[in-house]
């Protein structure tokens, strides 16, 4: 039976893993390859490496890092952050990444999704959507796509954008709720379920994981195909093995 996936996310700066809460108090947390390998050993189903820097010099460091990850780790991994062109994607996939995730560049130029899907296949194109529930000028409240780490609102309604990225050839959606991100109060269940119900591609839910029960909720009520988290894994608040045993015990299909 196809299992639900548990995905740790590693933030990368200058080729090193950084840990922090809400992007403050960033501190060095070691070699991403070692940390990724450790997560793989613990039973992570996939890894996401998110590059939170973007200068040219640092991109080269990222390519080297991707190559080292591919040499070491035998589970799928996705690389995101600052990817804006076919040539960016080509470099990362050639270096051994299994998937890439694009975000702001897809919002700026939605045709990029079609272009990448055609060139490399949908299976390796993940579109990341950062969303926030805001009050519009007309007084209505709406889930709206945000860019720039969730700071800048766009004109796009999240549910419509999710449908559009699928139609354009995205293979998966990484949905991060900026409302729940960092709160440890649970994933955005209602929105995740609504998007998953409308989509025929997998939804990776992100933002808000604080307890093991939150993962249970996002796989049941939230109808997510995968759950992603960063700090609770990095700070060892929840161990991946105990999380997977807990979920399996509650009847969620897990690879153990």
């Amino acid at each position: 039976m196809l299992t639900k996936r548990i995905i740790p996310c590693l933030d990368i700066k200058d080729g090193r893993t950084v840990k922090g809460t809400n992007f403050v108090n960033l501190r060095d947390a070691g070699d991403p390859v070692e940390l990724g390998a450790e997560y793989a050993l613990q039973g992570a189903d996939e890894l996401v490496f998110l590059d939170i820097t973007a200068t040219v010099e640092e991109r080269k460091t990222l390519i080297d890092l991707v190559r080292r990850v591919a040499h070491t780790i035998n589970i799928p991994f996705c690389v995101g952050g600052g990817i804006g062109s076919v040539s960016d994607v080509s470099k990362l996939l050639n270096a051994g990444a299994d998937k890439v995730s694009i975000n702001s560049s897809a919002v700026r130029n939605p045709g990029l999704i079609n272009e990448l899907a055609l060139e490399f296949g949908s299976q390796c194109i993940v579109v990341a959507i950062d969303t926030r529930y805001i009050t519009l000028e007309n007084g209505f409240q709406e889930h709206i796509v945000h860019t720039h780490g969730g700071r800048k609102p766009t004109e796009l309604k999240t549910i419509e954008w999710a449908k559009e990225v699928e139609d354009r050839g995205a293979g998966e959606i990484l949905l991060t709720s900026m409302d729940t991100d960092g709160t440890k109060a649970g994933f955005a269940l209602e929105l995740t379920a609504q998007i998953s119900d409308n989509a025929n591609i997998p939804i990776i839910a992100s933002g808000g994981a604080g307890t093991m029960e939150h993962f249970y909720d996002v796989f049941t009520t939230g109808k997510a195909d995968a759950g992603l988290a960063a700090s609770i894994f990095h700070f060892k608040e929840i161990g991946i093995p105990e999380l997977k045993y807990y979920l399996k015990g509650k009847g969620i299909s897990m690879r153990i």
Partner: protein, 180 residues
């Protein structure tokens, strides 16, 4: 490639008939779309060569589908090593296509799965499948039961991505490298 480097095996990436004919063993990975892949095999004459090869041969993912008789993906005639058509997954509510993620394999019947626990998990990413047939040597299930692995003589094939299927995938490669 990286999977082979991880277990320290020398390899060469090639589309040259002579190189392929003289290789000790061959891995035929595949991503992408069936008709485009078949066209490039025909351009290099590899469509005629591959079915005649005698050394251990492993096709994975689209590589497995190309070894079958045909694919519903753009109605493509394939290599015909395995006399079975590749079909498109049906549309069933609650099952997303392509299947993306880890699923189990069982009912083993070839050397590649030696030493694996029944119901080991491997990583899939595919929208087409080979039905159960005489060549099925491992089964899996998504919407319906179908072939996770096929074998006929020296030809082995796996629908999943063994190169990123953790220790299970690595074991399958190691077993393949032991075949004489």
């Amino acid at each position: 490639m990286y999977a082979l480097e991880r277990i320290g095996v020398a390899y060469e990436l090639s589309d040259d008939a002579n190189t392929i004919r003289s290789a000790e063993r061959i891995i035929f990975p595949g991503v992408g779309e069936a008709s485009t892949a078949m066209r490039s095999l025909r351009e290099n004459g590899l469509d005629k060569l591959i079915p005649t090869l005698k050394q251990p041969f492993l096709g994975t993912c689209v590589g497995m589908q190309l070894l079958c008789k045909s694919s519903e993906e753009n109605n493509t005639d394939c290599l015909g090593v395995f006399d079975v058509p590749v079909l498109k997954f049906p549309q069933i509510k609650g099952f997303k296509v392509p299947q993306t993620g880890w699923n189990d394999i069982y009912s083993y019947g070839c050397e590649l799965t030696e030493g694996l626990a029944e119901h080991s998990y491997v990583y899939y990413n595919h929208g087409y499948y080979a039905p159960l047939c005489d060549y099925t040597v491992a089964k899996t299930e998504y919407m319906l039961e179908y072939s996770a692995m096929l074998q006929k003589d020296n030809f082995f094939a796996a629908q999943f991505h063994s190169e990123i299927s953790g220790d299970v995938g690595q074991k399958i490669f190691e077993n393949f490298l032991k075949i004489q």
